[in-house]
């Protein structure tokens, strides 16, 4: 019984982990159709923000929950103004440009911090006991944060004026523009928000995984697979994609080890996209956000 609870908890953690690393990408790629290959580096920058800030004596919670999204959000806005805004509607070009950006960011961070960085930021919060088993309290916290974050993004898109304008602009920029919306500004804000969400995710994961300039590469593929499998509805899609792929990955990792967990995840994504080329939300929950 304890084992079931412990494994179930791990499963939920794997799922929310996937949702956490994918959400920023879902906003930038799912909503804006910008293939952001620098997504992993946004996560990495969030992690470095936390490490630098805590080393400077700033409280770890402030660093993770406020500074990481703020810093990466600002970087996102700068990137959008200098690079992305010239490339809207040119998907392949955004792919190349953001790939270049990703190499640049890795290079800059490596030259500043070196290739290996001491991350003496331990996960805060203690240990959660489940009978004979124990799990990290911080993992529980991450699950909660992911749920809150998904809910927050949903509230923003559904009930705020910004959310309405953003959705309108993404659906039909010309019409939105004709109705007096500054689409250029909306694009900038949306990209910045996507980057901020990525930064928050990277910051939150830093105590669990440590930071390296190249850590983005370990996230990028999974994030894209999740978002593409999820389909066009960014929230429902990311959630559904994470539950399906994370669930499969978690179950197979537990039964047959990590290697098979990864294989099962990729296999599931291939089969899914063969049957539903437009992702889960291309067929189900089509009206959802």
């Amino acid at each position: 019984m304890d084992l079931v609870v412990a494994v179930l908890f791990q499963l939920i953690y794997v799922i929310s982990n996937l949702a956490l690393i994918s959400l920023g990408l879902a906003i930038i790629f799912g909503m804006m159709r910008v293939i952001n290959l620098a997504h992993g580096e946004f996560l990495m920058l969030g992690g470095y923000t936390v490490v630098v800030a805590t080393n400077a004596g700033i409280n770890i919670w402030v660093s993770m929950l406020i500074l990481a999204p703020l810093v990466v959000g600002i970087i996102g806005v700068i990137v959008e103004r200098l690079l992305i805004r010239w490339l809207y509607g040119r998907m392949v070009d955004t792919l190349l440009a953001t790939w270049g950006l990703s190499l640049l960011l890795v290079g800059i961070v490596t030259s500043i911090f070196g290739a290996s960085t001491g991350t003496t930021v331990s996960p805060p919060l203690g240990v959660v006991r489940i009978g004979d088993y124990s799990a990290s309290g911080y993992e529980l916290f991450l699950v909660v944060v992911t749920i809150v974050l998904l809910f927050g993004v949903w509230l923003t898109l559904r009930f705020t004026k910004l959310g309405l304008l953003a959705r309108g602009t993404m659906q039909n920029a010309e019409m939105a523009s004709a109705l007096g919306v500054s689409t250029s500004r909306i694009y900038m804000i949306t990209f910045g928000l996507g980057a901020a969400v990525s930064g928050l995710a990277g910051g939150l994961l830093a105590p669990m995984t440590g930071v390296l300039p190249t850590i983005g590469a370990t996230y990028i593929a999974k994030a894209f697979i999740t978002v593409i499998s999820g389909g066009s509805a960014i929230l429902a899609g990311t959630t559904a994609g994470s539950i399906l792929l994370g669930g499969i990955n978690g179950v197979f990792s537990f039964i047959a080890g990590s290697t098979f967990g990864e294989i099962a995840l990729l296999l599931a994504a291939i089969i899914l996209l063969r049957l539903m080329p437009r992702g889960i939300t291309g067929r189900f929950f089509r009206k959802s956000l």
Binding site: Y133, S134, Y138, E139, M208, T214, F254, S258
Partner: protein
């Protein structure tokens, strides 16, 4: 036909080329060329950067003592950027372009296997100064790093005596991890223990939650790890975050060679034990003097010394001793000198070439991690490379150039 300057040059250089084999290397320059290819950028530079520093120091030390045979030694250092393709390219450049007298190169087993055939083809003496899984049987190659029979065979019984006989193995999913895990199982069995499970991880895995659950289910007496690279450091963090480091201790054959102990906090790392042929605490005057000179050279921010870095220094020095003994930097006499059982007294203690395998007899230490520093708790003198000795005999048959453990231990005829 007009006799232009260009055609004259072309003709005369063709003449020079055709006469090159007779004149030999000494004609090109009076210097002795020492080439080194290491990963100084990219994911593997946590290993490569300290190795490059000690290699430079070794060459400076040799030149400060008047060079070799009255000639200056020139270091050609190449950065392979954690990319195998560059290894092959630079190995060719070093052997054919620089006409290096020796090449000290490679960190991962994959990089070693990429360049070993190239250097054998060009008859260029090759040193691999990295701890690895054993099994290279090559007349032209000297493997100075420790192998599983030297380290794993020590740390397994030590940990079993200390903690108990039930063992859980976690390892990186490529040839080093796979083969080392087979050695671990063998030594666990030999010491009357039981391996509960073996798990392999691709190098980019960062979530070890399911494994931690499985370890909690299996309830081993300790976990032994051969995890490799930056992403795998997450294992130690998540293990500690689940409170497991207080319950089930960890031994490792890889934790520390990339100075991982400085990448995680003291609370997360305390109590991990590992076995290498060098720790900074090695108690001998050569080591004290070596560390002091290193600090004078690089300042207080110098990298922490580990087996890979120190063995790179000792490997260069071992080669220098062989050149002195042979009286020439040419390959064949130097190999003979090395294979006479040549020994060098370095910071790790005596390192002596074993002519049967072209590996080394060396001191082995077990370290216990406390506050990000290794304390030596056990030391073993002059340990032979017993694993490779099982399958390789270069005395009986010198004409060999193979990697015998390529397909695992069973394929090499080891039970």
């Amino acid at each position: 036909m007009t006799f232009s300057r260009r055609s004259f040059l072309a003709g005369s250089s063709a003449l020079a080329l055709s006469s090159a084999p007779i004149i030999g290397r000494a004609q090109g320059s009076d210097k002795i060329i020492f080439a080194s290819i290491l990963d100084l950028s990219g994911g593997l530079d946590i290993y490569g950067a300290p190795m490059a520093e000690t290699t430079k120091m070794a060459i400076d030390d040799i030149n400060a003592a008047g060079g070799l045979l009255g000639r200056e030694v020139e270091l050609k250092l190449y950065d392979a950027q954690s990319t195998i393709q560059f290894y092959t390219q630079y190995a060719t450049q070093a052997a054919a372009g620089d006409r290096a007298h020796t090449v000290h190169a490679g960190i991962t087993s994959a990089s070693r296997e990429a360049i070993r055939p190239t250097l054998a083809r060009f008859k260029t003496l090759y040193f691999y100064n990295t701890q690895y899984e054993g099994g290279v049987c090559d007349y032209n190659t000297f493997c100075t790093g420790s192998t599983p029979a030297q380290t794993v065979a020590k740390v397994v019984p030590y940990a079993m005596n200390k903690w108990g006989k039930k063992v859980y193995i976690v390892a990186a999913d490529y040839n080093y991890g796979q083969i080392t895990a087979q050695w671990m199982q063998r030594f666990v069995k030999e010491n009357g223990g039981e391996t509960l499970d073996v798990e392999f991880f691709p190098l980019d895995v960062t979530n070890f939650g399911p494994t931690i659950n499985k370890i909690q289910t299996a309830k081993p007496d300790f976990v032994i790890s051969a995890l490799v690279g930056g992403a795998h450091v997450s294992f130690y963090r998540q293990y500690a975050a689940a409170g497991m480091n207080k319950e089930i201790p960890i031994a490792s054959t890889t934790f520390g060679v990339g100075n991982e102990q400085t990448l995680i906090s003291a609370e997360e790392g305390d109590g991990i034990i590992a076995s290498y042929s060098y720790f900074e605490g090695a108690n001998n005057p050569t080591n004290t003097e070596f560390l002091a000179r290193l600090e004078a050279r690089l300042g207080a921010g110098r990298p922490v010394m580990n087996e890979l870095a120190v063995r790179s220094y000792e490997g260069a020095m071992l080669w220098a001793e062989a050149v002195k003994m042979a009286g020439t930097p040419d390959r064949d006499p130097v190999i003979e000198a090395l294979r006479s059982g040549l020994s060098y007294n370095g910071p790790s203690g005596a390192v002596a070439v074993d002519p049967q395998t072209n590996h080394c007899n060396m001191n082995v230490y077990i370290g216990d991690l406390k506050d990000q520093k290794w304390n030596i708790v056990e030391s073993y003198e002059a340990q032979p490379p017993a694993d490779t000795q099982l399958v390789c005999d270069l005395v009986a048959n010198p004409d060999q150039s193979t990697f015998l453990f390529e397909n695992g231990l069973a394929a090499a005829g080891i039970e």
